[in-house]
Symmetry: C2
Subunit: 205 residues, 2 copies
Amino acid sequence: MTYTLYAMQSSGNCYKPRLLMRQLGLPFRLVDTDTRDGGTRTPEFLALNPNGKVPLLVLPDGRTLAESDAMLIHLAEGTPLLPADGYERALCYQWLFFEQYSHEPYVAAARSWLHLIPEGRARLGAEALAELHDRGHMALRVMEHRLEAAPWFAGSAYSIADIALFAYTHVAGDGDFDLAPYPRIRAWLERVRRTPDFVTMDWRP
Amino acid sequence: MTYTLYAMQSSGNCYKPRLLMRQLGLPFRLVDTDTRDGGTRTPEFLALNPNGKVPLLVLPDGRTLAESDAMLIHLAEGTPLLPADGYERALCYQWLFFEQYSHEPYVAAARSWLHLIPEGRARLGAEALAELHDRGHMALRVMEHRLEAAPWFAGSAYSIADIALFAYTHVAGDGDFDLAPYPRIRAWLERVRRTPDFVTMDWRP
């Protein structure tokens, strides 16, 4: 038995465990599951994840795990992608929660409205988009500030914190975020792309 | 040197590390910091947390850690409040991210509008409140479902997942959430209150 990942290819949250499993050399089976056609609302899927969201990971023993960043921690435990140093590991957790609470709801949401949802720009409206941009740029400024002090989010080495933040930052332009004011973020995106066994968002196992 | 916690007493996110540190017997100093009077936007505070949010924990060595749930993991590592079993620990992470992404933005937000923000009910509006209630009840149903299978969120024992979910669930009524349809959640709230060294939200060290 191996891992099975229920995922939507265009989702940054689903890209996170795909990239990590590739970089850790963990083989897995991908089951395409689309939130937009009700794929996460079928009785079969809700039996796997009562919260009705992808990604959903089925472990080799058949047990399930939801929440992309929980998968990252679980899969990276005992590997160099979760720092061995206690403080760097704590910072890793900090950036994972930052990503889900202060970054994804704005940076990913703008991308979803402008890039994935039919006529999303009109349905969202200019005022709501401006609000997403304001909050998203706050998150990007916090990231730029962090990268003044360290090359990677957890500190000295590439970790799952970088994977989590890369997922939606590298496609922020899809939500009309201009990364020009963030030279350190742009350099960090390039460093992530040069990590061993890096794969782009369209990669499939 | 000991821990210092910058926190707002009425915040559930700030209650989480207070409750955990009390239950772990970790002494700490509390510095009241109110988001509503600009306390998280001063240059001094932004030097500690560039994301401008409480809670913010200063470790005994002077280094800082943001994000309430990152504090929970960091402080609980090596204690019984973070499960030793790998799968239960993974579930613990899952519920922490669930709390911040699918629960807090609705259950805590409704409480904030109705209980903490002056004239918040009128400023929020009935339609937006109904949306918070819809999404919050989705989260509560997922919790109720989980508690059909296990007494605690990570599985067999009380953990930081319970602390994280207790923080805003026990005051959900402040946001006009009725917990009557959730008998398992209500029984679980009572179990949490009976854990050793439990303290209520108004507790100060």
